[in-house]
């Protein structure tokens, strides 16, 4: 009897696991198809670039405050923590290198992408989801205007363009924060701080790789946000769930992609 009960529970568990795996695969497949369709419908986003510029304002310009303030604080913390460690080895004048490399290679693209997912990504999902729930997308379709070309593609390209710019501003503010703490507060030599940074940071290896990372994160976060909004059940609960999924999924995807990209860029894997 107990054996029968145990068997049926196990069977149920395997069935649930299989069903969830299939659902997840379906979602990934749908997301990929959606992504390709958006790329194919991107003509209008460039022909009528005003549409993309408008979205650049909402996704990029309105994210500036959170990006700049966070960058400043992250840089200041790096200055404090870096100084604490470096002074042990008498290398506190290398603080500029530590701050700049940490920001340009890793923290700039990654933290900016996480903040972008929380601020702009969630807003994109909620907006598209509500447009769907209130039949605005259906209305557009019935007016012979393709919502993928008119609504989705401009938002996608605005996200892809604004992400590396935001990451660059984050890094710049971070370096300034490190300078404030290291040079102005602690009193490290200003010339050493800047010259060591200038010598150690390589444009191609560090800056360009950081930009490539942020472009990839921009594509991932914006595509996830748009897909979740477009795929959201047209109810209040559905839109709320989609918004949460955008932040959670895109954060995880950013961190996972960061590992893969770092492995290829800085360890020569492949």
């Amino acid at each position: 009897m107990i054996c029968d009960w145990g068997g049926s529970v196990l069977k149920q568990a395997i069935t649930n696991l299989g069903s969830r795996t299939l659902d997840a695969l379906w979602t990934v497949g749908l997301a990929m198809r959606f992504f390709v369709t958006v790329l194919l419908h991107s003509g209008m986003a460039f022909r009528r670039f005003g549409l993309t510029i408008r979205e650049l304002y909402f996704t990029g310009v309105l994210s500036l405050i959170v990006i700049l303030v966070s960058g400043l604080f992250v840089g200041m913390v790096l200055g404090l923590q870096g100084y604490e460690t470096l002074q042990t080895y008498g290398a506190e004048e290398s603080l500029g290198i530590v701050v700049a490399l940490s920001l340009v290679r890793e923290l700039g693209p990654v933290v900016a992408a996480l903040l972008f997912a929380s601020r702009a990504g969630s807003a994109i999902t909620a907006e598209i989801g509500l447009m769907k729930a209130t039949e605005q997308l259906s209305a557009m379709e019935m007016m012979a205007v393709d919502p993928l070309a008119r609504v989705v593609a401009p938002r996608f390209w605005a996200g892809v363009i604004s992400m590396p710019l935001l990451a660059a501003l984050f890094s710049a503010m971070g370096v300034f924060g490190g300078y404030l703490v290291g040079v102005q507060l602690i009193g490290i030599d200003e010339g050493a701080f800047w010259s060591q940074m200038q010598n150690a940071v390589d444009f191609e290896r560090d800056v360009l790789n950081g930009v490539i990372k942020s472009v990839v994160f921009g594509i991932a976060v914006t595509a996830i946000a748009l897909f979740e909004g477009y795929d959201a059940p047209p109810t209040a609960e559905g839109v709320a769930g989609a918004t949460t999924r955008t932040v959670v999924t895109s954060s995880l995807v950013v961190l996972a992609l960061d590992f893969v990209l770092t492995a290829f860029m800085f360890r020569g894997i492949g």
């Binding site: 039949e135 605005q136 259906s138 557009m140 379709e141 019935m142 012979a144 205007v145």
Partner: protein, 270 residues
Amino acid sequence: MQNDNLIEIEQLAFGYGTRSILKNINLTAKRGQVVAIMGSSGCGKTTLLRLIGGQLKANQGVVRVADESVGDLDRDGLCRLRRKMGMLFQFGALFTDMTVFDNVAFQLREHTDLPEDAIRDLVLMKLHAVGLRGAAQLMPAELSGGMARRVALARAIALDPMLVLYDEPFAGLDPISLGVTGNLIRRLTDTLGLTSVVVTHDIHESLKIVDYIYFISEGVIVAEGTADEIRASGLPFVHQFVHGEADGPVPFHYPAPPYADDLRLGGQRA
């Protein structure tokens, strides 16, 4: 020679998977007429409207609009047909990020190369027709339900379509807005030479303005006729619907086991 019937539906069947929604639907709408599709909530009325607009494809049968089989049209053909159609959604589906003026101008800007001066004049004329010229610069959030419906109507007729589809245009309106909306549908149909298909369950308002009525129940057409024929009809379903009776062919109770069994009054009580 031009066909008198703008819409012809023959032997139409539609369902999702094994769930049948519409069966054996035969319907015609003559040019210049207001045709109502009526029935209780969830009977498939809106589905029928979406089949006419090409948002859904029939499983069987044919939907012809202006002699074109909607189900056989490719993407471009469907877009071409939709430019000659307008649709009023249940709650207006106005674009919430645009003013009333921009909502009405939307199709003119998307589908024509008219100069902004001409668009301005056309939009104000359409808004004047629905009595809302003075509300041109308001945002949709500032409109009452009735006003939003009228703006949506102005938007639906922006390109002077041959056919306007109305999805529950009277839902949730106060008696004054209800009368205004009903009169507008009739007046615009007559003055602009449109054909109107109204999906509704508001029998009293509809009987005042429509030329022909189809009743749908459980996915099939159970009655049809002019307003006078419907008023005089002896069919039990039509009688129940026209007089708003709680019980009849549409039962008050959802199917359930016998009441006494559910309350365990059959001698099984402990």
